[in-house]
């Protein structure tokens, strides 16, 4: 019997390395070719003077970083990226919390409502954003039309949702929120259902009301999953260029410029590959630090 098992085991062991390699090689290939290689090239270009259409390539050290740091567009883009990310995250957290509380208890049509809420996440970002571009259009905006009809704004000086600096920033944040809320809601809903139901019950017997239960019991217990939601949301917002590219392309006057969009416009559209690479690589260390911090918070909370 023992011999038999040993034989089977060794046969399995002889088979499994090949099988294992075969199973994970597509993933490795994908990561290496489509993420790893471009990433290494970007780092390489960031220290060079690569330009589109030029076959000359010289190592220039930190020259690209020095020059982008001096550019007002770049500084504006960093500031905007941070503002967009933080504002969007705060709004998303509040809204998805409210939604997850509302969707937790069963009611008629809950499945359908959950489906509707998830839709923005399923739709391609570019299509959704084009939809928003129309909603926020300077002439055809349905929001403006509604506000005029309700008497809130004057029909001769309607708000330019994408043409005024403050409004354009608000519009970009709004679209980011619209895109991230479904994802965040689903994650928070999972976190909420993972709390044993006796714990909020014990809190209600102990005399805690809705707010105390929410802020002292439920949310602290959801810290691991909250930090995952925030981490993903932060990275999605920080690295996204679709929304800004389609809505405003960074304008007006760089007021909604973000790093990914700036990298694209300088590196690809402006042919300065090296500057584009330097811009896009610039934030990698920051993002790594954020991710590390969030994962530590999640881990600590989980252990507790």
């Amino acid at each position: 019997m023992a011999v038999g098992t040993a034989k089977i085991k060794s046969a399995g062991a002889a088979q499994s390395p090949m099988l294992g390699i075969a199973m994970f090689s597509p993933a490795v290939l994908y990561i290496v070719l489509l993420i790893g290689a471009p990433f290494c090239m970007a780092i390489f270009y960031a220290f060079s003077d690569a330009r589109i259409g030029s076959n000359q390539l010289h190592f220039v050290g930190l020259e690209n970083f020095r020059s982008i740091l001096q550019s007002p567009s770049f500084r504006q883009a960093i500031k905007n990226s941070v503002i967009f990310t933080i504002c969007a995250q705060i709004i998303v957290l509040v809204c998805s919390n409210i939604l997850s509380i509302a969707l937790e208890k069963p009611f008629r049509g809950r499945g359908f409502v959950r489906f509707l809420i998830l839709l923005p996440w399923v739709a391609p970002v570019s299509l959704g954003t084009i939809g928003w571009k129309w909603i926020l259009d300077s002439i055809y905006s349905v929001i403006t039309w509604l506000l005029i009809w309700l008497g809130f704004v004057n029909r001769f000086t309607p708000p330019m949702w994408l043409g005024e600096e403050k409004l354009a920033m608000a519009s970009v944040i709004l679209v980011h929120c619209w895109r991230l809320i479904p994802f965040s809601t689903v994650i928070l809903l999972a976190g909420r259902t993972a709390i044993p139901k006796e714990i909020p019950e014990a809190a209600s017997i102990d005399g805690a009301g809705f707010w105390r239960t929410l802020f002292q019991i439920n949310l602290p217990m959801m810290v691991p999953i909250l930090s995952v939601a925030v981490l993903f949301g932060t990275i999605f917002t920080f690295t996204d260029m679709t929304v800004v590219y389609i809505l405003t392309n960074g304008g007006p006057y760089d007021s909604t410029q973000t790093l990914p969009n700036l990298a694209f416009s300088q590196g690809i559209q402006g042919s300065d590959l090296a500057a584009g690479a330097a811009i896009s690589v610039f934030l990698v260390p920051v993002l790594i630090l954020i991710a590390y911090g969030m994962l530590r918070v999640a881990h600590r909370a989980e252990v507790n």
């Binding site: 044993p196 014990a202 105390r212």
Partner: protein
């Protein structure tokens, strides 16, 4: 201290279905330790949750201290509850767990420390206040849950199977501790369990429930010695009461009353021939199972529980007997207790 009362209390979860709890009338006396005993699905936890305010009754009334509390929230009922899982707040230290109800009920801050220390010392957990629940053993968690319940000095204590998560050895000592604790604080307590030994050991009175209906309410002695129906008769006692059908009447007797005829001192006794089929030696006693031989009860399976002293062989038929006064009589159709009557045994 308040007395709890329920009037025709009913809970129906799905319309058209049988109620989880059906028209329960109950008066709990001051300072009493009352046990709700029943198998799973008997409605005992639902009943407790209605008293706590976590579940809203479909109909009927709940009174605490003579006041109808149906529409009051749990916090307004001045009750404390210990859950089966203890439901400690995992992210809070023991101190913060115990102080939570005081904060929630807006007890003045300067009293917090004193009250927490009082509750902790009452349960012998003063040394654990800075720990997190995950760093505690099962028994310690239970004590923290009790401390969190006692700290607000509630009118009524509700305990939902608080011992079932402990291992067998710990359960016994935790049980004794709970009894001592109740004697000391004297708070009216409702205790839910499916364990008849716990119920017998701890309860001042036991309410036996099955399928949402109260089968019997009485002292442990009453429900054990004088069961109201065959359900109570077989649910209490291990091994359960032997039941033998004689047409429209069912006779019951406890395994410990079924002994060798020569050992039965009472003169008024009913003799049986008993063929032993299986012998279990449990150290302090034997559990014999076998069949009755001859008479109307021929072939009926019964169990005997005997002290050591004799030895018994499988396959041998012995002369056994039951004292007449230990026989219980039930109506075969309704399963309810009926008065004793003469039986033609042969």
């Amino acid at each position: 201290m308040a007395v709890v009362e329920t009037r025709k209390l009913t809970k129906v979860f799905k319309q058209g279905e049988l109620g989880a709890v059906n028209e329960v009338d109950l008066i709990i006396r001051e300072g009493e330790f009352l046990v709700f005993l029943g198998p799973s699905g008997s409605g005992k936890t639902t009943l407790l949750r209605m008293i706590s305010g976590l579940e809203h009754p479909t109909s009927g009334e709940i009174l605490i201290g003579g006041k109808v509390v149906n529409d009051l929230t749990p916090r307004e009922r001045r009750i404390a509850m210990v859950f089966q899982s203890y439901a400690l707040y995992p992210h809070l230290s023991v101190y913060n767990n115990i102080v939570f109800p005081l904060k929630a009920q807006k007890v003045p801050k300067n009293l917090h420390k004193e009250k927490v220390e009082w509750a902790a010392s009452l349960l012998g957990i003063s040394g654990l206040l800075q720990r997190k629940p995950r760093e505690l053993s099962g028994g310690e968690r239970q004590r923290v849950a009790l401390a969190r319940a006692i700290v607000r000095e509630p009118a009524v204590f509700l305990l939902d199977e608080p011992l079932s998560n402990l291992d067998a050895k710990l359960r016994l000592s935790a049980r004794e501790e709970l009894e001592r604790f109740h004697r000391r604080v004297g708070t009216t307590t409702i205790y839910v369990t499916h364990d008849q030994v716990e119920a017998m050991a701890m309860g001042d009175r036991i309410m036996v429930l099955n399928k949402g209906v109260v089968r019997q309410l009485g002292t442990p002695k009453e429900v054990y010695d004088d069961p109201a129906d065959t359900f109570v008769a077989t649910f209490l006692g291990s091994p359960p009461m032997n039941l033998i059908e004689y047409g429209d009447i069912t006779i019951g007797f406890r395994p410990e009353h079924f002994r060798l005829a020569e050992d039965v001192k009472e003169t008024d006794k009913v003799p049986f021939k008993f063929r032993v089929e299986n012998v279990e030696y449990l150290g302090a006693e034997f559990i014999l199972s076998g069949l009755l031989v001859g008479g109307k009860a021929d072939g009926k399976k019964v169990i005997a529980r005997l002290l050591l002293g004799h030895s018994y062989e499988v396959g041998v038929t012995y002369d056994f007997a039951v004292p007449q006064q230990q026989l219980k009589y039930f109506d075969t159709a309704t399963q309810k207790k009926v008065p004793a009557r003469a039986i033609a045994w042969q």
